[in-house]
C-alpha cells in the first residue's frame, strides 16, 4: 500500500517525462529538416545569395532565379523528403511487424519489382517517347509484387512465408532486370538503366512531385495506422491476437502502405535503399524500443537523412555526379555490417 503511494508521484513524473522526450525528439528532427531544407534550396549547380533564394521562393526577384528555385530546387527538396519519409516509416513498420531489426522495405521485393517495370520501358524505348511510361510501369511493378504478397498474407501465411515470398519476388525481379540488360542491343540503353536504378532526384520537376506525393501520402497514412498493433506484436503473434489485434489487417496495411510509399518514389527517382534499415534501428533506443513511438521519428529522420545525402551529392564534385542511391548505400552498407555484428553479440 505504502509502496504504491510513494511510487505514484515518481511514476507520474516519469510518464510525463517520456512524453516530453518523444515530443522533443520529433521537434528536434523537424528543426533538422528545416535547416537541411534551407541548405538544400541554397546550394545547387549555380550559386545565388541566400536572400535571393528566399525571395525567389516567394515569387520575388529575378524570373530566372524564381524558376530555378521553384521549378528545380524545390521539387528536388520535396522529393528527397518524400522518399526519406516513406522509407523511414516503412522500415519502422516492417521491423515491428516482422519483429526483426534487419527487416527493411527492400526485403519485400517491392522496390526491385518497381525498378524492373521502369527498366522495361527503357528497354523498349518507351521511356523516351511517352513521358509517363516509366513511372506508370514502375507503379505497375510495385502493384504486382504487392498483390502477390497481399494474397499470401491474407491466406494467413506465417511471417516467415511472407519474408521468403518477398525475397523470391525481389530475386525474380532482379533476374528479369538482368535479363533485360543482357538482351539489350544498345550499350547506351544499358547505361541508362543502370544509372536510373542507382537512384537520383536530380532535375525532377513539380510534375514528378505531383505524381509521387499522393502515393507516398496514402502509403504513410496506412503505415501509421498500424502503430498500436505493432506494440502488441512485441509479445508475439498469439498474445497480440488475444489482445484484439487483427493480424491480417495489420499485414495488409503494412504491405500496401509500403508498396504505395515505395512504388510512388521509385517511379520517379529510381532505387534508393538502406534508409529503411538504418533509421529505425538508430532511433529505437531513443524511444525506449516502443514500436508505436518509433514511426513518426523514423519518418522525420528518414527524410532528413535522404535530404542530407542529396545535399552531399551536390557538394561532392568529382566529375560524374554521385547518385543519391549510391550515397545512401555507402552509408547504409557498413552500418548493416555493424548491425549484424551487434545482433550476433547479443545472441551470444
Amino acid at each position: 500500500m505504502t509502496e504504491a503511494a510513494t511510487a505514484a508521484p515518481r511514476r507520474a513524473a516519469h510518464t510525463v517525462s517520456h512524453r516530453i522526450s518523444w515530443l522533443s525528439l520529433n521537434l528536434a528532427l523537424l528543426a533538422l529538416i528545416g535547416v537541411l531544407a534551407c541548405v538544400s534550396l541554397t546550394i545547387g549547380y549555380v550559386t545565388y545569395p541566400v536572400t535571393d533564394v528566399v525571395a525567389a521562393l516567394f515569387g520575388l526577384g529575378d524570373d530566372k532565379v524564381i524558376t530555378i528555385v521553384r521549378e528545380l530546387r524545390l521539387p528536388r527538396l520535396l522529393l528527397a523528403l518524400a522518399i526519406g519519409g516513406g522509407l523511414g516509416v516503412s522500415g519502422a513498420v516492417l521491423q515491428g511487424l516482422l519483429r526483426n531489426p534487419l527487416a527493411e522495405p527492400g526485403i519485400l521485393g517491392i522496390s526491385s519489382s518497381a525498378s524492373f517495370g521502369a527498366v522495361i520501358t527503357i528497354y523498349f524505348g518507351l521511356s523516351a517517347t511517352f513521358v509517363y511510361a516509366l513511372p506508370m510501369a514502375a507503379m505497375a511493378g510495385a502493384a504486382t509484387a504487392t498483390t502477390v504478397l497481399y494474397f499470401l498474407s491474407a491466406r494467413n501465411a506465417s511471417t516467415l512465408t511472407i519474408i521468403l515470398a518477398g525475397v523470391a519476388i525481389g530475386g525474380l525481379a532482379i533476374s528479369l532486370t538482368s535479363l533485360a540488360m543482357n538482351l539489350s542491343p544498345n550499350p547506351w540503353a544499358i547505361n541508362e538503366m543502370i544509372f536510373w536504378m542507382l537512384g537520383s532526384v536530380k532535375d525532377r520537376s513539380m510534375h514528378d512531385v505531383a505524381l509521387a506525393a499522393p502515393f507516398v501520402l496514402a502509403g504513410v497514412i496506412l503505415l501509421l495506422l498500424t502503430s498500436r498493433a505493432l506494440d502488441a506484436l512485441t509479445l508475439g503473434e498469439d498474445a497480440a491476437r488475444s489482445l484484439g489485434v487483427d493480424l491480417k489487417r495489420v499485414r495488409a496495411l503494412a504491405i500496401i502502405g509500403t508498396s504505395l510509399a515505395i512504388g510512388g518514389t521509385v517511379a520517379v527517382s529510381g532505387g534508393i535503399g538502406f534508409v529503411g534499415l538504418v533509421v529505425p534501428h538508430l532511433l529505437r533506443p531513443l524511444v525506449g524500443h516502443v514500436a508505436s513511438l518509433l514511426l513518426l521519428p523514423s519518418l522525420l529522420a528518414g527524410a532528413a537523412l535522404v535530404l542530407a545525402a542529396d545535399i552531399a551529392a551536390r557538394l561532392i564534385r568529382v566529375g560524374v555526379e554521385i547518385h543519391l542511391g549510391v550515397l545512401t548505400s555507402l552509408i547504409g552498407a557498413p552500418f548493416f555490417f555493424y548491425l549484424i555484428l551487434r545482433t550476433r553479440q547479443r545472441v551470444e
Partner: protein, 287 residues
Amino acid sequence: MARRAAFCLAVLAFLAGPSASAHAETPKPRAASASICADKYLLALADPEQIASLSWQATGPLSTFAEEAAAYPSNRGGAEEFLDANVEILILNSHGSMELRRIMGQFDVEMVVIATTTITFDEIAQSVRDVAAKLDQTARGEALIADMQARLARIDPQVVEEDAGPSVTYFRPEGGGAGAGTFVDTALRHAGFRNLQADLGNTGWGRVPLEQLVLTPPDGLVTSFFDTAYKGVNARFSSHSLFTRLSAEKPVMPVPGRYWTCAGPMLIDAVESLAAQRREHFGGGHD
C-alpha cells in the same frame, strides 16, 4: 517531322538571308551541350559567343579537343546551369540524361537530340545539318560536311569500292566488339577494311567468340579504349592467352578511344587513322 519543318524554314531563311541581314542582325541562339558527343558538334559549328557551356567531359580524357574546350565554361549537366546561362538550344544524346530532356521540355529551351543510332556518314551529315540549322549556322554546317566528304574521298577510293581489303576484328578492353550496324563498322569499311565480325553475320556491339577467331582468324586487330580503360578491366580479357597470341601474330592497330565515343564529325579522324595504319601494315593502296 518538326525537325524537317525547321530544316525547311532554315533553308528558306538562309536563302532569304541577304535580304534579312539588311534588317536588324538577330543574334545567333545561345547553346550548350550536355555530353562529349554534343560538345564536338557545338564546338565545330557554333560561334564562340554562342557557346554558353560545354559538358565537363570536354576537358577530360575522352576529349579530342580538350585545349579548345578549356576556354569555355563547363557544366555538370544540371538544368539549373542551362537556365542560369539563358541557354536557348541544348544539344544532347538520345540516351542518357532522360530526366534532363524531360524537364528542359518545360522551359523555353529547344533540344537537339543526337541519335546514338547514327551509323553512316550520311546520317552524320544529316545530324550536322540539324544542329547547324538550329544554331543558325547552316553555312558552317555545309562546310563541315563538305570537308568530311573530301577527306573520305582521299582515302583509297578504289580499295574501298572493291571491298577487298584486309579483314579485321574490333576489340574493346572488356571484350566487346562491333558488328554490322555500328559506326565502328562504318569507319572500318571506309578505311578500306573488311569487318570480319559483320561478315560473320554479327550485328551490334557484342563480340565474336574467341573460338570463332581461331577458326577464321582476321588479318589484323583493331583495338580501342585500351589506353583509357581501368587496369582491372583491361587485364581480364587482354591477358587471355588466345588474345595475346593473336595480337602477337597479327598486326594490332590501336585507335584512340576519343575518336569515336559516338558517331559525330570526328569519326573521320578515326577513319584516317585506320587508313594510315592499313597502309603501314598491309601496304599498297593508291594515294
